[in-house]
Symmetry: C2
Subunit: 159 residues, 2 copies
Amino acid sequence: MKTLFIIAIALALLTTSCMENKSENKETKLQAIFPKGNLGPAENFTGKAWATGLVANDSMYNTLVGNVFFEPGARSNWHTHPAGQILIITDGVGYHQIKGQPRQTIKKGDVVKCPPNVLHWHGASPDTGMYQMYILPKTEKGIVTWLQKVTDEEYNSDK
Amino acid sequence: MKTLFIIAIALALLTTSCMENKSENKETKLQAIFPKGNLGPAENFTGKAWATGLVANDSMYNTLVGNVFFEPGARSNWHTHPAGQILIITDGVGYHQIKGQPRQTIKKGDVVKCPPNVLHWHGASPDTGMYQMYILPKTEKGIVTWLQKVTDEEYNSDK
Protein backbone atom coordinates (compact mmCIF):
# COMPACT_ATOMS: atom_id res chain seq x y z
CA MET A 1 0.00 0.00 0.00
CA LYS A 2 2.89 2.33 0.87
CA THR A 3 4.49 1.57 -2.53
CA LEU A 4 1.21 2.37 -4.29
CA PHE A 5 1.04 5.72 -2.46
CA ILE A 6 4.62 6.64 -3.44
CA ILE A 7 3.95 5.75 -7.07
CA ALA A 8 0.75 7.83 -7.08
CA ILE A 9 2.69 10.87 -5.77
CA ALA A 10 5.41 10.33 -8.41
CA LEU A 11 2.74 10.16 -11.15
CA ALA A 12 1.11 13.36 -9.93
CA LEU A 13 4.45 15.23 -9.85
CA LEU A 14 5.44 13.99 -13.30
CA THR A 15 2.06 15.00 -14.79
CA THR A 16 2.32 18.49 -13.28
CA SER A 17 5.87 18.87 -14.63
CA CYS A 18 4.70 17.85 -18.13
CA MET A 19 1.78 20.28 -18.04
CA GLU A 20 4.00 23.18 -16.90
CA ASN A 21 6.39 22.46 -19.72
CA LYS A 22 3.56 22.62 -22.29
CA SER A 23 2.10 25.78 -20.80
CA GLU A 24 5.53 27.48 -20.95
CA ASN A 25 5.74 26.68 -24.65
CA LYS A 26 2.39 28.33 -25.24
CA GLU A 27 3.29 31.50 -23.35
CA THR A 28 6.59 31.99 -25.20
CA LYS A 29 4.97 31.50 -28.62
CA LEU A 30 6.00 34.98 -29.87
CA GLN A 31 9.78 35.33 -30.10
CA ALA A 32 11.44 38.64 -29.28
CA ILE A 33 14.77 39.13 -31.07
CA PHE A 34 15.63 42.64 -29.84
CA PRO A 35 15.17 44.53 -26.54
CA LYS A 36 11.61 45.79 -26.03
CA GLY A 37 12.68 49.44 -26.34
CA ASN A 38 10.56 52.50 -25.61
CA LEU A 39 6.83 53.07 -25.75
CA GLY A 40 5.84 54.92 -28.95
CA PRO A 41 4.26 58.33 -28.25
CA ALA A 42 0.46 58.41 -27.82
CA GLU A 43 0.13 61.12 -30.51
CA ASN A 44 1.44 58.69 -33.18
CA PHE A 45 0.12 55.35 -31.90
CA THR A 46 -3.11 53.83 -30.55
CA GLY A 47 -2.42 51.23 -27.84
CA LYS A 48 1.05 50.09 -26.85
CA ALA A 49 3.77 49.95 -29.54
CA TRP A 50 7.36 49.42 -28.31
CA ALA A 51 10.16 50.72 -30.56
CA THR A 52 13.91 49.93 -30.68
CA GLY A 53 16.32 51.61 -33.08
CA LEU A 54 18.72 49.17 -34.79
CA VAL A 55 20.55 51.32 -37.35
CA ALA A 56 20.70 55.09 -36.87
CA ASN A 57 20.51 57.40 -39.84
CA ASP A 58 23.85 58.44 -41.33
CA SER A 59 25.23 59.59 -44.68
CA MET A 60 27.12 56.33 -45.32
CA TYR A 61 24.12 53.97 -45.57
CA ASN A 62 21.20 56.48 -45.66
CA THR A 63 19.09 53.67 -44.22
CA LEU A 64 17.13 53.68 -40.96
CA VAL A 65 16.32 50.28 -39.41
CA GLY A 66 14.37 49.46 -36.26
CA ASN A 67 11.98 47.08 -34.58
CA VAL A 68 8.46 47.67 -33.30
CA PHE A 69 6.45 45.31 -31.09
CA PHE A 70 2.74 46.09 -31.35
CA GLU A 71 0.71 44.66 -28.46
CA PRO A 72 -2.66 43.14 -29.53
CA GLY A 73 -4.94 45.93 -30.87
CA ALA A 74 -2.11 48.51 -31.09
CA ARG A 75 -1.45 50.36 -34.35
CA SER A 76 0.31 53.38 -35.84
CA ASN A 77 -1.45 56.52 -37.06
CA TRP A 78 -1.81 56.99 -40.80
CA HIS A 79 1.58 58.23 -42.10
CA THR A 80 3.81 58.56 -45.17
CA HIS A 81 7.53 58.08 -45.88
CA PRO A 82 9.20 60.29 -48.54
CA ALA A 83 11.22 57.31 -49.92
CA GLY A 84 8.84 54.48 -48.94
CA GLN A 85 9.17 51.72 -46.35
CA ILE A 86 9.91 47.98 -46.18
CA LEU A 87 8.34 45.99 -43.30
CA ILE A 88 9.57 42.53 -42.28
CA ILE A 89 7.33 40.61 -39.89
CA THR A 90 9.46 38.47 -37.56
CA ASP A 91 6.63 37.08 -35.41
CA GLY A 92 2.91 37.35 -34.67
CA VAL A 93 -0.02 38.55 -36.75
CA GLY A 94 -0.99 42.09 -37.78
CA TYR A 95 -2.48 44.39 -40.36
CA HIS A 96 -1.12 46.73 -43.04
CA GLN A 97 -3.29 49.08 -45.04
CA ILE A 98 -2.51 51.45 -47.89
CA LYS A 99 -5.15 54.21 -48.23
CA GLY A 100 -7.82 53.22 -50.74
CA GLN A 101 -6.86 49.53 -50.66
CA PRO A 102 -8.28 46.69 -48.50
CA ARG A 103 -6.59 45.99 -45.14
CA GLN A 104 -4.01 43.21 -45.51
CA THR A 105 -3.38 40.57 -42.83
CA ILE A 106 0.38 40.06 -42.33
CA LYS A 107 2.23 37.45 -40.28
CA LYS A 108 5.63 35.99 -39.37
CA GLY A 109 7.90 35.79 -42.46
CA ASP A 110 5.91 38.30 -44.55
CA VAL A 111 7.55 41.25 -46.29
CA VAL A 112 5.47 44.35 -47.11
CA LYS A 113 6.49 47.37 -49.18
CA CYS A 114 4.85 50.80 -49.13
CA PRO A 115 5.90 53.18 -51.96
CA PRO A 116 7.14 56.77 -51.43
CA ASN A 117 4.59 59.33 -50.17
CA VAL A 118 1.77 56.75 -49.97
CA LEU A 119 -0.55 56.96 -46.94
CA HIS A 120 -0.49 53.76 -44.81
CA TRP A 121 -0.79 52.34 -41.29
CA HIS A 122 0.32 49.10 -39.62
CA GLY A 123 -0.28 47.34 -36.34
CA ALA A 124 -1.14 44.12 -34.51
CA SER A 125 -4.30 42.04 -34.90
CA PRO A 126 -6.83 42.34 -32.06
CA ASP A 127 -5.81 39.01 -30.46
CA THR A 128 -2.14 38.48 -31.34
CA GLY A 129 0.75 40.95 -31.11
CA MET A 130 3.20 41.58 -33.97
CA TYR A 131 6.98 41.99 -34.11
CA GLN A 132 8.03 43.94 -37.21
CA MET A 133 11.29 45.35 -38.44
CA TYR A 134 11.14 48.46 -40.58
CA ILE A 135 13.65 49.61 -43.19
CA LEU A 136 13.58 53.19 -44.47
CA PRO A 137 15.80 53.63 -47.55
CA LYS A 138 17.14 56.89 -49.01
CA THR A 139 16.78 58.83 -45.75
CA GLU A 140 18.33 61.87 -47.45
CA LYS A 141 14.77 62.42 -48.71
CA GLY A 142 13.31 62.42 -45.18
CA ILE A 143 11.89 59.95 -42.65
CA VAL A 144 8.17 60.16 -41.87
CA THR A 145 5.15 62.49 -41.87
CA TRP A 146 2.63 61.57 -39.14
CA LEU A 147 -1.06 62.13 -39.81
CA GLN A 148 -4.45 61.29 -38.23
CA LYS A 149 -5.30 58.34 -35.95
CA VAL A 150 -6.63 55.07 -37.40
CA THR A 151 -10.22 54.96 -36.11
CA ASP A 152 -11.71 51.79 -34.60
CA GLU A 153 -13.97 51.59 -37.66
CA GLU A 154 -10.96 51.68 -40.03
CA TYR A 155 -9.04 49.21 -37.83
CA ASN A 156 -11.91 46.73 -37.76
CA SER A 157 -12.88 46.99 -41.44
CA ASP A 158 -11.35 44.47 -43.84
CA LYS A 159 -12.64 46.48 -46.84
CA MET B 1 0.27 -6.73 -8.25
CA LYS B 2 -1.67 -6.10 -11.48
CA THR B 3 -2.37 -2.49 -10.37
CA LEU B 4 1.32 -1.98 -9.62
CA PHE B 5 2.20 -3.22 -13.13
CA ILE B 6 -0.32 -0.86 -14.79
CA ILE B 7 0.99 2.11 -12.78
CA ALA B 8 4.57 1.22 -13.73
CA ILE B 9 3.63 1.19 -17.44
CA ALA B 10 1.82 4.54 -17.06
CA LEU B 11 4.88 6.05 -15.35
CA ALA B 12 7.16 4.80 -18.13
CA LEU B 13 4.89 6.24 -20.86
CA LEU B 14 4.59 9.58 -19.10
CA THR B 15 8.36 9.83 -18.60
CA THR B 16 8.97 9.08 -22.30
CA SER B 17 6.40 11.72 -23.32
CA CYS B 18 8.05 14.32 -21.06
CA MET B 19 11.50 13.50 -22.44
CA GLU B 20 10.30 13.77 -26.05
CA ASN B 21 8.79 17.15 -25.29
CA LYS B 22 12.08 18.43 -23.84
CA SER B 23 14.14 17.03 -26.67
CA GLU B 24 11.84 18.78 -29.21
CA ASN B 25 12.46 22.09 -27.44
CA LYS B 26 16.19 21.57 -27.72
CA GLU B 27 16.09 20.75 -31.42
CA THR B 28 13.95 23.77 -32.31
CA LYS B 29 16.14 26.15 -30.29
CA LEU B 30 17.05 28.15 -33.40
CA GLN B 31 13.99 29.88 -34.83
CA ALA B 32 13.59 30.09 -38.61
CA ILE B 33 11.48 33.09 -39.72
CA PHE B 34 11.71 32.62 -43.49
CA PRO B 35 11.76 29.59 -45.83
CA LYS B 36 15.15 27.84 -45.96
CA GLY B 37 15.76 28.88 -49.59
CA ASN B 38 18.54 27.70 -51.87
CA LEU B 39 22.02 26.44 -51.14
CA GLY B 40 24.62 29.16 -51.77
CA PRO B 41 27.09 28.23 -54.54
CA ALA B 42 30.26 26.38 -53.48
CA GLU B 43 32.47 28.97 -55.22
CA ASN B 44 31.27 31.71 -52.79
CA PHE B 45 30.68 29.69 -49.60
CA THR B 46 32.45 27.07 -47.48
CA GLY B 47 29.96 24.58 -45.97
CA LYS B 48 26.20 24.93 -46.29
CA ALA B 49 24.67 28.42 -46.43
CA TRP B 50 20.97 28.64 -47.38
CA ALA B 51 19.80 31.92 -48.97
CA THR B 52 16.29 33.39 -49.42
CA GLY B 53 15.64 36.70 -51.18
CA LEU B 54 13.17 38.97 -49.32
CA VAL B 55 13.26 42.23 -51.28
CA ALA B 56 14.43 42.21 -54.91
CA ASN B 57 16.47 45.09 -56.27
CA ASP B 58 14.47 47.86 -57.97
CA SER B 59 14.80 51.56 -58.69
CA MET B 60 12.10 52.58 -56.16
CA TYR B 61 13.87 51.40 -52.97
CA ASN B 62 17.39 50.59 -54.30
CA THR B 63 17.67 48.19 -51.37
CA LEU B 64 18.30 44.45 -51.50
CA VAL B 65 17.18 42.38 -48.48
CA GLY B 66 17.53 38.66 -47.85
CA ASN B 67 18.11 35.97 -45.27
CA VAL B 68 20.97 33.48 -44.97
CA PHE B 69 21.07 30.46 -42.68
CA PHE B 70 24.66 29.33 -42.12
CA GLU B 71 24.91 25.76 -40.81
CA PRO B 72 27.58 25.28 -38.08
CA GLY B 73 31.06 25.90 -39.57
CA ALA B 74 29.69 27.44 -42.81
CA ARG B 75 30.91 30.87 -43.95
CA SER B 76 31.05 33.19 -46.94
CA ASN B 77 34.17 33.94 -48.98
CA TRP B 78 35.88 37.28 -48.42
CA HIS B 79 33.85 39.89 -50.36
CA THR B 80 33.05 43.61 -50.67
CA HIS B 81 29.87 45.66 -51.28
CA PRO B 82 30.16 48.96 -53.22
CA ALA B 83 27.71 50.71 -50.83
CA GLY B 84 28.36 48.62 -47.69
CA GLN B 85 26.16 46.11 -45.86
CA ILE B 86 24.01 45.89 -42.72
CA LEU B 87 23.66 42.45 -41.06
CA ILE B 88 20.92 41.66 -38.52
CA ILE B 89 21.32 38.42 -36.60
CA THR B 90 17.90 36.89 -35.88
CA ASP B 91 19.13 33.70 -34.18
CA GLY B 92 22.18 31.60 -33.39
CA VAL B 93 25.86 32.48 -33.06
CA GLY B 94 28.39 33.39 -35.74
CA TYR B 95 31.42 35.41 -36.76
CA HIS B 96 32.02 38.61 -38.72
CA GLN B 97 35.46 39.83 -39.71
CA ILE B 98 36.63 42.97 -41.46
CA LYS B 99 40.09 42.53 -43.07
CA GLY B 100 42.82 43.68 -40.69
CA GLN B 101 40.53 43.64 -37.63
CA PRO B 102 39.94 40.83 -35.08
CA ARG B 103 37.14 38.36 -35.77
CA GLN B 104 33.94 39.42 -33.99
CA THR B 105 31.50 36.96 -32.40
CA ILE B 106 27.91 37.89 -33.27
CA LYS B 107 24.64 36.49 -31.94
CA LYS B 108 20.84 36.84 -31.94
CA GLY B 109 19.81 40.52 -31.77
CA ASP B 110 23.18 41.92 -32.93
CA VAL B 111 23.48 44.43 -35.77
CA VAL B 112 26.73 44.69 -37.75
CA LYS B 113 27.70 47.26 -40.36
CA CYS B 114 30.42 46.90 -42.98
CA PRO B 115 31.36 50.14 -44.85
CA PRO B 116 31.51 50.47 -48.66
CA ASN B 117 34.30 48.56 -50.46
CA VAL B 118 35.67 47.05 -47.25
CA LEU B 119 36.76 43.39 -47.37
CA HIS B 120 34.77 41.16 -44.96
CA TRP B 121 33.34 37.67 -44.37
CA HIS B 122 30.59 36.27 -42.16
CA GLY B 123 29.36 32.85 -41.12
CA ALA B 124 28.26 30.53 -38.32
CA SER B 125 30.30 29.46 -35.29
CA PRO B 126 31.68 25.89 -35.39
CA ASP B 127 28.98 24.50 -33.05
CA THR B 128 25.90 26.70 -33.57
CA GLY B 129 24.29 27.85 -36.82
CA MET B 130 23.36 31.48 -37.52
CA TYR B 131 20.32 33.12 -39.10
CA GLN B 132 21.17 36.55 -40.50
CA MET B 133 19.30 39.07 -42.56
CA TYR B 134 21.33 41.27 -44.86
CA ILE B 135 20.45 44.75 -46.12
CA LEU B 136 22.32 46.23 -49.08
CA PRO B 137 21.58 49.97 -49.50
CA LYS B 138 22.16 52.13 -52.60
CA THR B 139 22.15 49.19 -54.99
CA GLU B 140 22.53 51.62 -57.90
CA LYS B 141 26.24 51.47 -56.94
CA GLY B 142 26.36 47.65 -57.29
CA ILE B 143 25.80 44.55 -55.16
CA VAL B 144 28.85 42.42 -54.34
CA THR B 145 32.34 41.47 -55.47
CA TRP B 146 33.29 37.91 -54.45
CA LEU B 147 36.89 37.15 -53.59
CA GLN B 148 38.99 34.32 -52.10
CA LYS B 149 37.84 31.61 -49.65
CA VAL B 150 38.19 32.09 -45.88
CA THR B 151 40.83 29.51 -44.92
CA ASP B 152 40.40 27.23 -41.86
CA GLU B 153 43.26 29.17 -40.25
CA GLU B 154 41.45 32.50 -40.76
CA TYR B 155 38.12 31.01 -39.63
CA ASN B 156 39.62 29.58 -36.43
CA SER B 157 41.75 32.61 -35.49
CA ASP B 158 40.21 35.18 -33.15
CA LYS B 159 43.08 37.59 -33.88
